[in-house]
Subunit: 69 residues, 6 copies
């Protein structure tokens, strides 16, 4: 199903924890992936991001959806 | 620097696009990673998520921060 | 009160669940509404979105605020 | 495709606007829907949310994904 | 208007930038404020957060709504 | 560590609450800060935001990360 989200990362459920209202799920990703970020232009300039830079993609767990076929 | 975000994924900037206010950055990740998601418990139950399940982590590009040392 | 959020959808609380830190609320919406999404341009092109297309607006429950007069 | 997102709202693309990096899409929803929100418990208590309350679901456009079959 | 969002921070518009689809707004806040974060319990434990700790609240600009009376 | 997030607000942990999966943290901010928001251009125009306007930055607690040195 085509979806506007730029990041759809395949993996395997490794662990999970159930709370009363929320749960956490850990997904193991072994294949290489590309992560797309949209950031404020001023941030890209301040970090002077350019091809080849070593960076980290930082993502809060509350922002991750899970899809299962 | 310790950070509460559960997902800090190391990679290399591969490409980018500059807009007037926002920019996009593509980050190539080659090492295996684990992605943590926090979802509503009812969602975890509806998907009947369990260890070993093949799933996708779906993340909108606007939710990804970039960190550079 | 004017608010920058593009989507303010009127409804009626139907059910709720209280956790220790977080709660869920279900809101029944019976009037027709228009939902505005901001997505990466490349996503709009990939989905070739055009007037008249049948689509789904997908929203994680953690992203919804509740306002009450 | 089962997806953890609690809100999948069917509609029809009505209008759109293309920017250099980001686009907006307006989706007309005519069927009744139920919107699920996850909020801090203290917020639910402060608003004293209860069945039958008239409320608004407030959602920023950047938080909305679009899916098309 | 009561709103579930825990953080409503009063300030004065200082500057802004208009793009084709998105805009940025800078808001100067001079009064002391309290910022509430909801994070995964494991993150709070890993950072061993306790009263009196010096910390930073990190917030992506795309997550900030603006309200004006 | 340079980070793309536009808002990094220094403060002191004042209180916290631990749930089964999620926790809340209250951070006291006493220094003046500037908050940057990215909003849809149509929203900025509708609110007719201009320098000197008294506004509120509205941020859901789930969107706040915590960083500790």
């Amino acid at each position: 199903m085509p979806l506007s989200a730029r990041n759809r990362i395949e993996g395997t459920v490794k662990a999970g924890e159930k709370g009363d209202v929320a749960s956490t799920v850990k997904i193991e990703v072994t294949k290489p992936v590309t992560i797309t970020a949209m950031i404020i232009k001023a941030a890209a300039e301040e970090l002077s991001l350019k091809e080849g830079d070593k960076v980290e993609a930082v993502i809060k767990a509350t922002e991750v959806l899970v899809s299962k076929d």
